[in-house]
Subunit: 385 residues, 2 copies
C-alpha cells in the first residue's frame, strides 16, 4: 500500500491532544487522516483531513467511521470494541486490536492477563462492587491499607484511591473494581515499546516518573531514569514481555513500580502514545508519535535513543483557579535554555486540569532536572481576574 | 498581548510548505492563525484556523487580510508591499517590515543595499534590460563569464544563469537584472539570524550547502559546516551585520560565498524560515520555525545550538519523470538510523520539482554525511507507470 498518497486513509478514534500530536507527524509524511470525536471543538479538528463528530462508544458510529478508513488506530481506549471486532472480521486493519483493547479497558481483566502470562504485578483481588470489599475486610481476606481501582474508565488519577480506613470506602462508585496491594516502591518507571505487524520491536529508554502528591498526576517524567543499569534492563525486558504477551502492534506504554528490592511490577499499560513519552518530541531520534505511525503502518521503526536528556513537566491548572486560562510567566520559562512549552489550547482552567506540558532538554540529565524545577516554580496556570 | 489565547491572531501571507511547517509550531503554542494564499489547495489549509483564498500581489486583498490580524508575517517574499506599508501606517505590526521586503524583493536593490552598508558582496552591475548587457560587453565594461540574475521573482534557481557566451544571453526575460562577477568559491555557506523587536539576536551555526550541478538547487545542507572555526566566526559576524543593517525582525537566512582567500561575500538573503534551516527541526534546540514565531512575537529567543549534527537532502523530482508521484525506496531510507523524510504532499512530480526533504542526524557530522549519501542514492522521486 502506498501510504504517501491520498488513496490511503488513516482513521483515528478520538480527537484529543494526543491525537493532535499524532496528526503533526502524519502531516510530515503527508498521510491522509480521518478523525472521529464526540466534541465539535476537538483539538484534532484543525489538523486532520476529515473530521467526524460522533460518539466513540456507539457501535454504528464507530463501525461506519471505520469503514471509511484503511487503517484504524486510537488515541483513547474508551471506544466501542464490538464495532472494532466487526471491522476486523471484515478484514479492516485495526491497531491496537479489539482483543488488546478489551483486556486493557478493564483493569481487572488487565491484571488477570498479567497473572495468566507470568508478568509480575502487584497482588490484587477483583470485586463486583465496593460493598464486597467490606465483606472481605470483615472476613479478614482484605486489610487496610490497599489501593482501590475502578475496573473501567480510570484516567489521570480518576478511579484510583488509597484506602486506609472504612471511611475512605464511602462514596466509591458501585461498579466492578479491584483492591490492589500497596507497593512501597522506590520509583515509578515507564517504558514505551514499539512493535510492528511483523513483530519487530524497539524499546524506548526507561523513564522515571514523579507524581504530584495531591492530584495523583505525573509531575516530572525524566529520561533517562536515574536508576541502576541492571534495573533499567530488567524494566525493559518486562515491558518487552508485556508487549509480546499482548501481541501488541503500535506503541505500548508500560508503567511499572521498582520495589524496595529492585523487583519490577507492572502497574498498567496504555496501548498508544502516552504522557510518559512526550519528552521524545524534543529528546529522541524518533518521537513516540512518529514511531506509532511507523509501527501501525508497517514502516521501519525509527531509532528510539535520545539525542539529549529530556524531562517533561505537566502543566496543570493551579489549585485555586477556575476560568479563562492565563499562563503566568510563560515568557520567563521560554527564556530558559532548552525549554519548550506545549499549550493544549483549552480555554478554561480548573484545579489540576491538564492544560499542556513543558519539555526541558539538556545533554546532562541533572542540569535538565535543575531547569525543570525552575520551570515548575516559575510557571503558573491560573485564571483571568 | 496574550498570544496564548484566541484573542490574538497571527496572519501569514502565503500558504505553502514553509507556512505549513511554521503552522506546526503555532499549534504547539496554540496561536490562532489566518493564512492567505492564491491556491485553494495550499498546504497550509489543513493547519491554520482560518484560510483565505486570494492574490498575494493584490493591494486590497492583502490589506483587508492584514486588517484581520494582530501580527502579520510572510512565508514568501512576493507580496503586495504597498498594502503592507499602509497597514504599518495604521499601526499594524508587520514582520519582516515593508521596507525590508521592498529591498529584498529586488535583487538589484538588495545588492546596492549591501554596498551602501559596507557589507561584502560580489561585484555587480545593474541593467534595465539584458540588451544593455550586450552594449556593456561591446564597450568592454562587462566581460564573460558572469552571472545574470533577474532583479525580480528569482526562486530556486529560476532567474539565475551563468553567462559564458553571447548565445547564453538569448531568451533572457526583458526585465531589470544584474550582471554579477563569478566567484570561484570554496564553499557556499548560510547563517540564519534571529532578531526580536528589542534587537536581541541569536545566530544559528554556519551551514554548508552543496548544489546540484544541473538543477541549481541545494542538494545537501550540512550543519555544522566543515570549515575552519575562524571562517565560521567571520560568516556569523557578516550575517549579524546584515541582520542589523536591515533592522530585521524575525528570521533572516543569509547565504554567503567563502572565497578561495577565505573572504565572506553575501550572496542573498531570505527574510523568513529557509530551506537552509530545515535541518533544525531534528537537530536544533529550537527549530527555525519556532524561532521565527518567538522573534516576531517578541517572545524570548530559543537556543540555536544543535543537539546533534544535521544534514538535509532536498527531495526533488527525478529528471525523467512527470506525473503522479511515487517515493521509491522511502521505506529503505526510513530504515536508516536518524533519517526522517518530510513529504510535502504535492500530487505530481516533474524534473527537479521540490517534493520534500529528508533530514539525517547523527552525533558525528561525518557519519551523518555518509548516511546522507546513502539516502541520496536510495530514494527516487518518480512517477507512476
Amino acid at each position: 500500500m502506498n501510504y504517501f498518497s491520498s488513496d490511503f486513509k488513516l482513521g483515528i478514534l478520538g480527537g484529543g491532544q494526543l491525537g493532535k500530536m499524532l496528526l503533526y507527524e502524519t502531516r510530515k509524511f503527508d498521510i491522509y487522516t480521518l478523525v472521529l470525536d464526540p466534541s465539535n471543538e476537538a483539538p484534532c479538528k484543525i489538523a486532520c483531513n476529515e473530521f467526524f463528530q460522533g460518539d466513540l462508544m456507539d457501535f454504528d458510529t464507530v463501525y461506519q467511521f471505520g469503514k471509511k478508513t484503511d487503517v484504524l488506530t486510537i488515541e483513547i481506549e474508551n471506544v466501542n470494541i464490538d464495532a472494532l471486532e466487526q471491522l476486523e472480521k471484515e478484514g479492516k486493519t485495526v491497531y491496537p486490536s479489539a482483543k488488546t483493547l478489551k483486556t486493557i479497558q478493564n483493569k481487572a481483566k488487565q491484571k488477570l492477563f498479567y497473572v495468566d502470562n507470568n508478568i509480575p504485578t502487584a497482588d490484587f483481588t477483583r470485586f463486583a462492587y465496593p460493598d464486597e470489599m467490606l465483606t472481605a475486610i470483615k472476613n479478614e481476606s482484605l486489610s487496610f491499607p490497599f489501593v482501590w481501582k475502578s475496573a473501567r474508565f480510570g484516567y489521570d488519577g480518576q478511579g484510583v484511591k488509597v484506602i486506609k480506613t472504612y471511611s475512605d470506602l464511602e462514596g466509591l462508585p458501585k461498579a466492578e473494581c479491584i483492591a490492589e496491594k500497596m507497593i512501597p516502591f522506590k520509583n515509578e518507571l515507564a517504558v514505551i515499546v514499539s512493535r510492528d505487524p511483523k513483530g519487530n520491536v524497539k524499546t524506548y529508554p526507561v523513564v522515571e516518573m514523579e507524581f504530584h502528591p495531591e492530584a495523583n498526576q505525573v509531575e516530572y517524567v525524566i529520561c533517562p531514569a536515574r536508576i541502576d543499569e541492571n534495573v533499567a534492563k530488567k524494566a525493559q525486558l518486562v515491558a518487552l514481555k508485556v508487549s509480546q504477551a499482548y501481541q501488541h502492534i503500535g506503541l505500548l506504554a508500560v508503567e511499572m513500580f521498582q520495589t524496595q528490592n529492585d523487583e519490577i511490577l507492572v502497574n498498567e499499560v496504555a496501548p498508544r502514545p502516552h504522557n510518559s513519552g512526550h519528552y521524545s518530541i524534543e529528546a529522541s531520534y524518533t518521537n513516540q508519535f512518529e514511531q506509532h505511525i511507523r509501527a501501525i503502518l508497517g514502516l521501519p521503526l525509527g531509532a528510539t535513543e535520545s539525542k539529549v536528556a529530556g524531562i517533561m513537566v505537566n502543566l496543570v491548572g493551579a489549585e485555586d483557579y477556575t476560568g479563562p486560562v492565563v499562563y503566568k510567566n510563560i515568557e520567563k520559562i521560554m527564556d530558559m535554555e532548552g525549554v519548550t512549552p506545549h499549550i493544549y489550547g483549552k480555554r478554561e482552567t480548573r484545579p489540576f486540569r491538564k492544560m499542556g506540558h513543558v519539555t526541558i532538554v539538556n545533554p546532562n540529565v541533572n542540569e535538565a532536572r535543575k531547569t525543570a524545577e525552575l520551570v515548575k516554580k516559575s510557571i503558573k496556570v491560573i485564571a483571568e481576574n
